[in-house]
């Protein structure tokens, strides 16, 4: 009998042990303040790239200077965050702070489902506040929904034109292009072919899985992806004209390899197989170690007569169910303070997320930051208000551009894409 009971107890323990793994593998819990008055903020972020060390160092800096608030940052891949965060927030087990995605439109899905808390009190002139006027207009506009601010920028970047100085010199081009017309002719000049084989591309233009490069050509020509009311502008004449121009350069002159993802385009420029690329500040961390003799220039001016470029930011949001909202707002304000923004610029190459730091002492050591920062007033987001960004980008815009790069009729392809976009964003006009 004793033997039987021992066996039963052993089996029950085995079962309990097997199930214990399940109960302990749940998402990170939202930590409320501990007994000693220290508030722990759980923070999920997706900074897995070369800039990770800078973010980790900044969190350490915050924790060492704020004894009553400790930030516990968990870094995980973006797709992992995308899969886990909505469910975790909806079930009340999500982190206090998170960076849901690097596409700004995605936060609208969280907002419409009541998962995020507004952070309006972040803006102001108080001790733990940031003056509203110092945030770049594109950020304020993208993060404001129904009059409420829902995110703070974890970083901020604009795109510039990277050009290979050696290739320019070899082609007899003395300076980077300043107009779109010059960019087009330089791209052709810099494309080197041997029979049907392209030895060197004039540009590396990515068409999917990338920071938006194609919209720049469209915006520079007065076209757009969406109208002010969010409907499609893909079939507008300026949009069609811009895409037609670049489609011709690709189909007839082979100025870029087709079908490039963002990383493929970076690799092409890094391997010195392409002479130009429009890219963000993070790329300096790849091209400098690769010993590419590159220069940076503002994106050339198009027919609208002013420079325009793509903006990029990672929204940092506050969980609606977090019990530590005040502490989180303190962290947000600290993050947007001038010394932190200068540190981010100095160590990760990002321009400051505020517009009042021109001439700030720490920025003098960062050769490229001033250029990227100067583009801030002219930077626009790609599909900033589209909640189902990923679906629209991968099912509508990118396939249309990919088809056009392979010789599809520009007007009819964009017309079809326009209908799809209107359908995706529920626009009936």
């Amino acid at each position: 009998m004793i033997r039987t009971r021992t066996v039963l107890a052993g089996a029950a323990l085995c079962a309990a042990a097997a199930l214990a793994g399940c109960s302990s593998s749940g998402p990170a819990s939202t930590a409320a303040g501990s007994g000693n008055g220290v508030v722990t903020l759980n923070y999920w972020s997706g900074f897995t790239g070369g800039d990770q060390a800078t973010y980790v160092a900044l969190i350490k800096m915050f924790n060492s200077t704020h004894k009553n608030i400790q930030v516990n940052m968990t870094i995980q891949p973006w797709d992992s965050i995308a899969q886990k965060l909505p469910e975790a927030m909806a079930t009340g087990s999500g982190p206090d702070i998170a960076t849901p995605d690097y596409n700004v439109g995605t936060i609208r899905q969280y907002i419409s489902n009541g998962l995020l808390a507004p952070i309006d009190s972040l803006l102001g002139n108080g001790a733990n506040q940031v003056p509203a006027a110092v945030l770049p207009p594109a950020i304020k506009s993208a993060f404001t929904v129904d009059g409420h601010l829902y995110a703070a920028p974890a970083n901020w970047a604009t795109l510039e034109l990277y050009y290979n100085k050696t290739m320019f010199a070899k082609a007899g081009i003395t300076s980077p292009p300043t107009t779109m017309a010059q960019l087009e002719s330089d791209a052709v000049k810099l494309t080197v072919k041997s029979g049907s084989t392209v030895k060197q591309y004039g540009m590396a233009i990515a068409d999917h899985s990338t920071i938006a490069m194609w919209p720049i050509f469209i915006w520079a020509n007065g076209g757009n992806i969406q109208t002010a009311n969010g409907c499609s502008a893909l079939d507008e004449p300026q949009t069609v004209a811009a895409v037609s121009t670049w489609a011709n350069l690709i189909v007839k002159d082979d100025i870029t390899q087709v079908g490039l993802a963002g990383q493929d385009a970076d690799n092409l420029f890094s391997a010195q197989k392409a002479a130009m690329e429009i890219n963000g500040p993070w790329a300096t961390g790849e091209y400098t170690p690769a010993h590419v003799d590159y220069g940076l220039a503002p994106v050339p001016v198009g027919s609208i007569g002013a420079t325009v470029t793509t903006a990029s930011t990672v929204p940092m949001v506050l969980n609606a169910k977090s019990p530590n909202k005040t502490a989180a707002l303190t962290f947000f304000a600290w993050w947007l303070s001038k010394p932190v923004q200068a540190y981010l610029a100095e160590h990760a190459g990002y321009p400051p997320s505020r517009t009042d730091m021109s001439g700030y002492p720490g920025l003098a050591n960062t050769p490229f930051v001033a250029g990227f920062s100067a583009q801030s007033p002219y930077a626009r987001f790609y599909l900033p208000t589209v909640a189902n960004f990923s679906s629209v980008d991968s099912n509508v815009f990118s396939p249309a551009i990919q088809a056009i790069e392979r010789g599809a009729n520009v007007a009819s392809t964009l017309q079809s894409a326009s209908s799809q976009l209107n359908s995706a964003v529920n626009c009936s006009s």
């Binding site: 097997a18 199930l19 797709d79 909505p86 419409s112 049907s196 390899q257 087709v258 092409l268 990923s390």
Partner: protein
């Protein structure tokens, strides 16, 4: 004697009914066994049975990660699928891949097994060489082939150009992307079929082959009339396994082409992944997974019937 026993109702064994173990005693005897099964059963219930049931439940709802309410829509997701060109495109690509890779993989495996069946040192080494891709991670092999097929740095393009053939960007060509993925699929899996056939070939009695040779049968008649029929069970196993893995194709495509260019290599599972984990339409993704499950079940049953699989097999 026996008739007499039957009439009197006495059991031949001589055991009286009271000697049978009672239900309670049987249960006590079996309980430790059931309890030892409990950990495995619990794991299966939590990680296999429950997710399967949950996915069926999700497929009947408008289910999104973002929303806490998931309205019941019955077969709505399945009706949406009927009018979804991306689903039909993915189904077509999956069918083409499966239709080419399964015979290619099984045929190549059989050819390799026949060629390498003798136990020489060289053959043993070559078997390892051909089996190596099977044990390598498909995602890793996908990356390797992506480099090999790269138009700028890939050796395949370099070789093609050196013999006067045109420079081709295989993985970005709407014509060549799917054939390239298919070729890598066959290369990756042929070793698996080879191992199955090598084992089966060892089981064919030499006496049968010798008798056929004595009767004047040449190598080809012996192969077609003796070897191949005797490999029927192994062929069935190889074909069913190859079909299931082909219809579930994901990682190789995800790494090599991400379903592109222009969805020309999009498979049911890559599409399912996009719908579920990028568009967050979990209910629709669950419905696609159930359709895939039913398709695999149907095709497997057809194959079993085609190969005249019997219980005795």
């Amino acid at each position: 004697m026996s008739q007499g026993l039957a009439r009197t109702g006495v059991r031949p064994s001589g055991r009286t009914p009271t000697a049978r173990p009672t239900a309670g005693r049987r249960w006590r005897k079996a309980t430790p066994g059931y309890l030892f099964l409990l950990p495995s059963a619990a794991i299966l219930l939590v990680f296999v049975v429950y997710p399967i049931a949950q996915s069926l439940w999700m497929s009947l709802h408008d289910w999104s990660f973002f929303s806490s309410s998931h309205p019941f829509i019955g077969l709505g997701n399945y009706r949406t699928m009927l009018h979804d060109p991306r689903f039909w495109n993915a189904l077509r690509n999956t069918a083409v891949y499966t239709a080419v890779v399964v015979p290619g993989q099984v045929g190549a495996g059989l050819a390799l097994a026949v060629a390498l069946q003798r136990n020489s040192l060289v053959n043993k080494f070559m078997r390892s060489v051909f089996f190596f891709p099977v044990i390598s991670a498909l995602a890793t092999m996908g990356i390797v082939w992506k480099f090999l097929l790269d138009p700028q740095i890939g050796i395949i393009n370099h070789l093609l150009v050196s013999v006067g053939l045109p420079d081709t960007d295989f993985l970005q060509s709407t014509t060549w992307a799917l054939p390239a993925v298919i070729a890598v699929g066959i290369w990756k899996s042929a070793g698996f079929s080879m191992v199955i056939y090598l084992a089966a070939l060892q089981d064919i009695p030499r006496s049968v082959m010798e008798a056929a040779a004595v009767d004047g049968a040449g190598p080809w008649p012996r192969f077609w009339r003796i070897t191949l029929p005797m490999l029927r069970q192994s062929t069935l196993f190889a074909v069913v396994m190859a079909t299931i893995t082909s219809m579930q194709l994901f990682d190789q495509v995800y790494v090599m082409t991400s379903g592109g260019p222009l969805f020309h290599t999009d498979t049911l599972v890559t599409y399912l992944y996009q719908v579920g984990f990028q568009d967050f339409r979990s209910g629709y993704a669950a419905a696609i997974s159930w359709v895939l499950f039913l398709l695999i079940l149907l095709v497997s049953m057809l194959q079993l019937r085609l190969f005249r699989f019997k219980e005795t097999d």
